[in-house]
């Protein structure tokens, strides 16, 4: 089941620069997309979401962009801070048929001071 894919297992970014994390999906029935952040030995922490009817949602340093025609979304973090170093999971949700989040495999972001 590869409905949500994060093709980059890791990413390193200089502090203060922009971090861009990418996610692709195959199921056009998804209604919401979410980004979660996970530190070691902790559960995923909800960061930001976007409805499939929008193409951008912004919350402070975090912006999610959705390109429905390409079935692609991205999370931009600007400026990147050392505390942003974590694993970031993309997840998707459909209003129809089930109540589950479908997760990608995660991207480990390392912010270099």
């Amino acid at each position: 089941d590869q409905q949500v894919k994060q093709n980059s297992p890791s990413l390193s970014v200089q502090e203060g620069r922009i971090s861009i994390l990418n996610c692709d999906y195959t199921n056009s029935m998804f209604d919401y997309f979410l980004w979660y952040k996970k530190y070691p030995a902790e559960g995923p922490t909800f960061l930001i979401s976007i409805s499939s009817i929008k193409d951008k949602n912004e919350d402070g340093r975090f912006t999610v962009f959705l390109n429905k025609s390409a079935k692609h979304l991205s999370l931009h973090i600007v400026p990147s801070q050392p505390g942003d170093s974590a694993v970031y999971f993309c997840a998707a949700y459909s209003n129809f048929g089930n109540e589950k989040l479908t997760f990608g495999t995660g991207t480990r972001l390392t912010i270099i001071p």
Binding site: E42, G43, T45, S49, Y93, E99, K100, L101
Partner: protein
């Protein structure tokens, strides 16, 4: 800030034994979930629970698994006869909004090791 809590943080058990993983969801939440993450793999949905019954379950959630809300605060996952492949991080999550069930808040997880 309210949070989901889980106990124990780490459980070691022998194959064939029963385990119960415990969760205390955020107090005003009504929708509860269990997910698991096998080492190196994706976070996978197991089951959702609302109004004292299972609302959805995945193919992973077979007869060896059960969930219960024994009182007003706890939500438990029981594995009746553990197998080696049940070794994983188990995450409990909860949601409060029927209009936004996608906003699920996760606990820190229980690491289950089956030997």
């Amino acid at each position: 800030e309210p949070e989901v809590t889980q106990t124990p943080s780490h459980q070691v058990t022998q194959m064939g034994q029963e385990v119960i993983l415990r969760c205390v969801p955020i107090s005003n939440h009504l929708y509860f979930y269990w997910y698991r993450q096998i080492l190196g793999q994706k976070v996978e949905f197991l089951v959702s629970f609302y109004n004292n019954e299972i609302s959805e379950k995945s193919e992973i959630f077979d007869d060896q698994f059960s969930v219960e809300r024994p009182d007003g605060s706890n939500f438990t996952l029981k594995i009746r006869s553990t197998k080696l492949e049940d070794s994983a991080m188990y995450f409990c999550a909860s949601s409060d909004n029927r209009q936004a069930l996608y906003e699920q808040y996760f606990g820190p997880g229980t690491r289950l090791t089956v030997t």
